[in-house]
């Protein structure tokens, strides 16, 4: 059976490889008929019609003359000029400050909780997650009203102190801190859940190896736990930051408008002021801020790793 060599001769002569340079139409055609593309199409169209389109319109409106309701006019920078010459920076700063503080507080609160969910209560994590997610299904304003009644003078806290302990307690509402408290409460799940995904990406063996190599608890946390959980932590921080910066209800219900957040300015322009172009221009600034943060973050995060847990 020495015919093998004959068979494997690569039939070289007379058979040259067909040229692979297909015209671009064909290549485009093949790319578009890929199942991945086809599967992405329905959501893609939805987002085109329901997200990209509206945002493009906001963009157009931002350059329309103030107090008008049509996009078919000569573009102008008037809205931006007004915004920059007015005190809107205060709302932006307040929103950013609140958002940053919210993120900072939540990072500290949620990290040990995420560890608890992933490493301590491994078996009950599913039910715990459900219990923690359930409040999400009650509208924000209702939950904040609950806090309002809890913290208000004569509410649960002050009523308890007054009636049972005889200590008079004043209202704990209508301040910057109350707003921050509301933001922390409302956004807690937004930080916790991505963080849980992140923490569960840290292989237990790697931590054990680090301990084994003589690292202290603190060093393990600094060198292993946090860097490996970083993608989840970053996604959580990003979501929380953007949602907190774009919040309204917390500042209104608990904060008593002690701080005006940028989204409230935007909403006022669209409603009481009936100034769509200015509202759009403010929205554009908000979008640019959120968008650039998101893009910066996306560059550093592998979504497959987070959601697929393929650490």
């Amino acid at each position: 059976m020495t015919d093998a060599s004959v068979r494997i001769s690569h039939v070289a002569a007379g058979h040259s490889r067909v040229s692979r340079a297909e015209p671009w139409q064909v290549r485009l055609g093949t790319a578009l008929s890929k199942p991945g593309f086809l599967a992405a199409l329905p959501v893609g169209i939805l987002l085109l019609a329901g997200f990209v389109g509206p945002l493009a319109l906001v963009f157009l409106f931002a350059f329309m003359p103030p107090q008008t309701f049509s996009v078919l006019q000569a573009p102008t920078l008037a809205n931006f000029r007004t915004i920059f010459s007015d005190s809107y920076y205060l709302s932006f700063l307040a929103s950013l400050q609140l958002a940053a503080s919210t993120v900072a507080i939540l990072l500290v609160i949620c990290y040990p909780l995420a560890i608890a969910m992933v490493r301590v209560f491994t078996r009950k994590a599913g039910i715990l997650a459900l219990v923690l997610a359930a409040p999400l299904f009650v509208a924000d304003n209702l939950r904040l009203m609950g806090w309002m009644l809890f913290l208000v003078k004569g509410g649960v806290v002050s009523g308890t102190m007054q009636t049972y302990l005889g200590i008079p307690v004043d209202s704990m509402l209508y301040t910057f801190s109350a707003t921050l408290f509301g933001l922390v409460y409302i956004n807690l799940p937004m930080m916790l859940f991505p963080m849980i995904l992140g923490v569960s990406m840290v292989p237990a063996q790697m931590r054990e190896a680090a301990f084994d190599l003589g690292a202290s608890r603190w060093q393990v946390m600094k060198e292993v736990d946090i860097p490996l959980a970083m993608p989840g932590i970053m996604i959580g921080a990003l979501i929380t930051f953007i949602l907190a910066a774009g919040a309204i209800t917390e500042a209104k219900v608990l904060g008593g408008t002690a701080v005006v957040m940028i989204a409230q300015d935007i909403q006022k322009e669209f409603t009481f002021a009936q100034n769509w172009p200015k509202g759009s221009a403010l929205s554009m600034l908000m979008i640019v801020l959120a968008g650039s943060l998101a893009l910066a973050m996306f560059k550093r995060v592998d979504l497959d790793a987070i959601f697929g847990r393929k650490g």
């Binding site: 309701f69 809107y88 205060l90 003078k153 219900v253 408008t257 002690a258 005006v260 009481f272 009936q274």
Partner: protein, 392 residues
Amino acid sequence: MTRRNLLQSFSQSRRAFLRDTVSISAGIAAASMMPRGAWAAREKEMNIYCWEGYNSDKVLDPFRKEFDCTVKAQGLISDPEAVNQLRAGDTKVWDIINLNNAWGRRQLYPENLIKPLDKAKFEPLWEMMIPEFKWPYKWSTSDDGNELLGMIQRYGPSGMLVNTEKVSAATLEDEGYDLMLSDAFKGKYAVLMYDDWVIMHVVIAAGFSPFRELTDDEIGKYETVMRKLINNAAFLSDDMNAIALGMINGSIEGSFPGSVYSVSAARYDGNPNLRCIIPNKGPEEMGGKAGVCWMELTSLVNNPQLSPRAEDFLEYCFRPETAKNVSFAEGTYNPVGQMGDPKVMALYNTEELDAFQYDTLSADMAKCADFDIIPSYTKLHEIFSAAVREKA
């Protein structure tokens, strides 16, 4: 401030196509679950866009049952916004619009957004009105007085709210807005964030009428007063329940502005010490009036497919028991113009009348100018927003 369809180049057919795409795709999934036929004839449905009160169960449920009709009602929070929604094409949605008096005559009717009423049918109902609103009532007709634009019902004086255990009503009436704006009152009041009403009262507090164009100098004074008002406030809220709660539990003593409706429920709930106060003295150009009287006008929307039930509803609201229910809706209690009719009046007991300060109501109303459109609104609103943003 006219608003038309934005992309006017959009062809009708394409727009219809887009709309259909949305409704079909959503409809397919849900069509089977619809409680009642979504596309049924409009005899069986009516949509109301109104201030809180008309959308209460007390008012609507009997109507639903009697006329076997689906009634959808949405509460509104701002007159100008509601007007703009009608301008943007929501006349197709609504059958009834309920706004403060001036809007019908000044904007809705001139812009063809509401339909005049059948005078012969509705004028006789005016018999029920209290003397202040006897026919011909200015705000219910067109400028030339020829067309009846809507029916009036709830009304009330707007000034300030105060806890009379802390500050006597008489003192506040005498000293007026200045007392609340004085440094002694700092941190003791809340601002009710119904923007146009805040602006109106601040202009009055600054000594002018808000219902004419203001000069730059006057606007400067307005700004000073506005900033002080905002900076001195304990908190700002558009939740009148929270403000009433604050006055009940003592964390604040008053509210600026405030009307009977924002305090009546608390009064009825056992807090008669909370009161709406109208100062005795106001700007001369307003005839010395310091308060603003609002009156709600309920009109038929110029809907191409107006529900025949809409007229029925206007009549229904004038039935004595309905008038009482509108007056005593779930959240707020207000006097109604129909209290001029003894049959209506007989439905109230003393506590109920006391809830809306019936003892001083006529006197308070006499100290109020009629609500009207604010011509300098845009500029004044910008100052107001800036003051809120820059709150110290």
